[in-house]
Symmetry: C2
Subunit: 314 residues, 2 copies
Amino acid sequence: MIYFTFDPRPDLKSDLQSSLPNEQLIFAKKIDPSDFAKAEIIVSYGEDLTPENIALAQELKWLFIASAGVEKLPLTELKERGITVSNVRGIHKTPMAESVLGHILAHYRSLPTIYKEQTQHNWRRKMPSKELRGQTALILGPGAIGGEIGRLLQAFGVQTIGCNRSKKHAPFMDRMVGFDDLLTALPTADIVLSVLPSTPQTYHLLTTEYFLAMKEDALFLNFGRGTLVETAVLQQALETHEIAAAVCDVFEEEPLPATSALWQLENLTVSPHTSSHSSRYLERSFELFKRDFINYRAHKINELENLVDLTAGY
Amino acid sequence: MIYFTFDPRPDLKSDLQSSLPNEQLIFAKKIDPSDFAKAEIIVSYGEDLTPENIALAQELKWLFIASAGVEKLPLTELKERGITVSNVRGIHKTPMAESVLGHILAHYRSLPTIYKEQTQHNWRRKMPSKELRGQTALILGPGAIGGEIGRLLQAFGVQTIGCNRSKKHAPFMDRMVGFDDLLTALPTADIVLSVLPSTPQTYHLLTTEYFLAMKEDALFLNFGRGTLVETAVLQQALETHEIAAAVCDVFEEEPLPATSALWQLENLTVSPHTSSHSSRYLERSFELFKRDFINYRAHKINELENLVDLTAGY
């Protein structure tokens, strides 16, 4: 039995059921312990799973997370039980890359100023208008999403530098650096972008020293996880103009509290963790689930598209 | 003698003079009749040239316009005298395409709403988040600028339809239509973009009938010339939601008067004719001028990069 811990649109449900005619599908907004105990496969956004309810699901073999971050999952329990976990990180790449490119171009072409002047009925032609072509972007975490961003940036004539642990070549990166080289690479970048997951290694990775190493006119974007930068460090970097501007889709505390000083920083754009949103999100997730399901039933677990490494945490 | 009707940055002037060591260069913000009369080449933004001062310039052979639009030039007088006119339309393509893509992505990813909610300290996650991938764009005027926009749109997975008079294939267009086919092509497009010049043929071309033919959720962008659409037609199309939204960089009257009703349309972005602005604008113009100058001195007039057809007016 396949247990969905959410209730999708009727057309998506009937499509799934007709694609998987021999499977019993249960869709439930609230976890029902008796059904949950019989679930062989659980499909969830991942935020409703606890050590306790995972312990209930004694038949569970495969957990399909319809989201990208897995840091809220009971990773230890899942690992001990040998449960296969996969997620949908691939499907975020299109909306996320479109959001990132939109924010970068908005910054370079002064769109926030254009919108603001319009409210004043002000035909103001003098405003900074930089060209993206010829700039350099440093991408922390050049995986599926980072690579798609790199591909689009290259189409705009931007040099891309990927930064990962292995320094192994990643697609759409003109060159690679390791985290050890970051302080040397940062001064060469006009755009510094993170799509890193939340792991012990990335926790508060970008200290003040790193922001000081960036160009004064650098644009910083965090579209990975808020734990990458301590809030006070980010606030200081923007207040003291260590960098020109930032766009954050993620924060240490989400929702960002209404009282946070970050809301008022004129050189910070607060994107409310919407960059991966898409009207086609669940449709894409279920397409991926159906592909994966064929491999799962054929016992080809290693061919699931986005297996989560429960030890590494991504 | 080469007469510049503007006074560029000192570094750009000295670079020009050292690149053209045997030429006398005069830079003047205000046209001096006695020098002007001796000018063999005039370099101008094009807005300061009248039939009267062109009549003064009896030595004039080549007019280099450091802008794209030539509709304000005394075309009849220039044509009668057989004066070569070229412009810099090629150099606009990078900043213009970056502006256009920025505005399109801002619309698809709800950036104006994100900015607005930030001013209210409002973590609002529900907002329209469409994907650009898979959309269709109709590009009126797929020349140098339209082609660059097409190239970038294709990188985002957008189908491109070019519309010109000849229907002859244009680069980065998946297919071509003619102006006769426009009413048939408009209902297929999610994005309708014009970079058409101002000519008798394009004057008030897009009547209400054309806006009614567009999709209700279409985004219209005018980055060519404001004469393409009568202001009242545009206003009505937006007020009655014949289309979802528009972004205009050009208007029938510029500057757009502070009293214009357009400023207040919530589904119109007023971009104050800044899309071609770039911190590298003059540098690029002069690079082009230097290349053209070599061909000019070698009497290879047909090899100037952007010869203006004085009859067609672009």
